[in-house]
Amino acid sequence: MNMFNRYCRHAALFAAALLLAVSHAVYADDIQDASKLLQQKQLSQALDKVNGILSDKPKDARARFLKGLILTEQGNAAEAIKIFTALTEDYPEQPEPYNNLAVLYAGQGEYDKAKLSLEMAIRAHPSYATAHENLGDIYTKMASQAYDRALQLDQGNATTKAKLKMIQDLLNKLITR
């Protein structure tokens, strides 16, 4: 679960979210513009656009979702978490907001919360492959933490050392990918 991957996932989710939409050409245009701005990394313009939509339709799911993505890209994890949390409350049957929440929690090292969010995503949508993969990443990180603690307590343990090294290689691989 790394930044690059995350970006891809967000993009994919966003595309999926767009598929759901049908109504209002103007509104659809605005959303599309905001999405384009996000992809071009013009984050503050994207945010303005989305806020414009939300001033008319404060409960609009897609605009809120997009806002969550923009805030994530801006590094404003706390606000992004608020938005995705609210989306999970309004749409508990949608797995994507849970998944994105998990990515944000993981970014803050809150693996237990990330795990819970992913479990909710999987409960909502058992065949959601991304959530299963992200859950795997969370467990990998938790394993790394546990081995690290074991090694701190027993520095000479070669087995633990070997395990920790292998799992860190795995994590490095995820980041460079």
Partner: protein
């Protein structure tokens, strides 16, 4: 977290528990004899000895602990779990029974329970490094399961494939790296045994502990039969339970439940589309007025801990149709559940 490691751990714990008491030479002798028999793998004799001690002192912690170890070695996981469970209730401040419980749950694939037990051990003893390491193993297995599931849902994902391969390497490599580490653990045990030498626990048992701990890795490297056998024994129960539940769902014409036993990548007979197959099953099962599916003479074999082949005799009785024949189900363990990936009828 494999049997070899646990064995060392058990030994370590056993020595540890012995340190706690120093009374009664007779009982100490009995316990020592039982321990020796256990190390010599004479489990039924060891059990008789332990039961003898327990008939005099039914609450004796060390004897119960040893009994738990004997059950474990005998492959009687359920009884071993009961024994260690009771010890955690009587001695919640001791981390070892929790750790052993976790090892047992792990061998049954009950990772959530294993995790909980280890977390409890760590709560009482934050510096108990074995529990931390075991917890790492549990998380790595859970990661492996999650990647496996992701890959079943999205076969083409190369990243997931890499991750799964790497995490699986971790287990094979840690198994290989085991022997020097266990040797080290055994030395620690010998060191642990020393301070209390004379009265209760003279040197020989410690030497035994070391010897068996060193011997174990070799057995593990050459024939991992112990791990495999216990996995097979424990998991075949799970697999059979699933097959029976599948037959029950079919018999009760609960189509939704029946279909839930099939993996996302179930090999649909005749290369039909999954949706078409499901629709056909739905129609056929829901239209029948009564169905009785019986499973008998089932045998389970494992190609690895996550893949099983179940062969059985299936009887099928509907209102106008009565058939029977041999059936083979290929099953994969995914997310803690066994799912059907292929169904063959002969």
């Amino acid at each position: 977290m494999n049997m070899n490691n646990c064995f060392c751990r058990y030994a370590a714990m056993f020595a540890g528990v012995l340190l706690l008491t120093a009374s009664m030479a007779v009982r100490a002798d009995d316990l020592q004899d039982a321990n020796k028999l256990f190390k010599q793998k004479q489990y039924s004799q060891a059990m008789d000895k332990v039961n003898g001690i327990l008939s005099g002192k039914p609450k004796d912690a060390q004897a119960r602990f040893l009994k738990g170890l004997i059950f474990t070695e005998q492959g009687r996981a359920v009884d071993a779990i009961k024994t260690f469970q009771a010890l955690t209730e009587d001695y919640p401040e001791l981390p070892e029974p929790y750790n052993n419980l976790a090892v047992l749950y792990d061998s049954q694939g009950q990772y959530d329970k294993a995790k909980l037990a280890l977390e409890t051990a760590i709560r009482t003893h934050p510096s108990y490094s074995t529990a931390h390491e075991n917890l790492g193993d549990i998380y790595a297995k859970m990661a492996s399961q999650a990647y496996d599931r992701a890959l079943q849902l999205d076969r083409s994902n190369a990243t997931t494939k890499t991750k799964l391969a790497m995490i699986q390497d971790l287990f094979s490599a840690s198994a290989r790296a085991k022997s020097p580490a266990s040797g080290k653990a055994a030395t620690d045990i010998a060191g642990m045994g020393k301070p209390q030498t004379a009265p209760a626990m003279p040197a020989p048992p410690a030497a035994n502990v070391r010897a068996s701990a060193v011997a174990a890795p070799a057995a593990k490297a050459n024939i991992p039969e112990k791990t495999v056998v216990s996995a097979a024994v424990d998991n075949s129960g799970e697999v059979l339970k699933t097959v029976n539940a599948w037959a029950a769902a079919w018999s009760s014409r609960d189509v939704k439940k029946y279909l839930s036993f099939y993996a996302a990548d179930f090999k649909v007979p005749g290369g039909e589309k999954r949706a078409d197959w499901e629709a056909a099953r739905q129609e056929r099962i829901s239209k029948a007025q009564s169905i009785q599916v019986g499973v008998s003479n089932a045998t389970v074999s494992f190609s690895d801990s996550n893949h099983a082949t179940v062969k059985f005799h299936q009887s099928y009785q509907a209102k106008h149709l009565k058939t029977s024949g041999n059936k083979t189900l290929l099953m994969v363990k995914s997310g803690g559940n066994w799912l059907i990936i292929e169904e063959r009828a002969k």
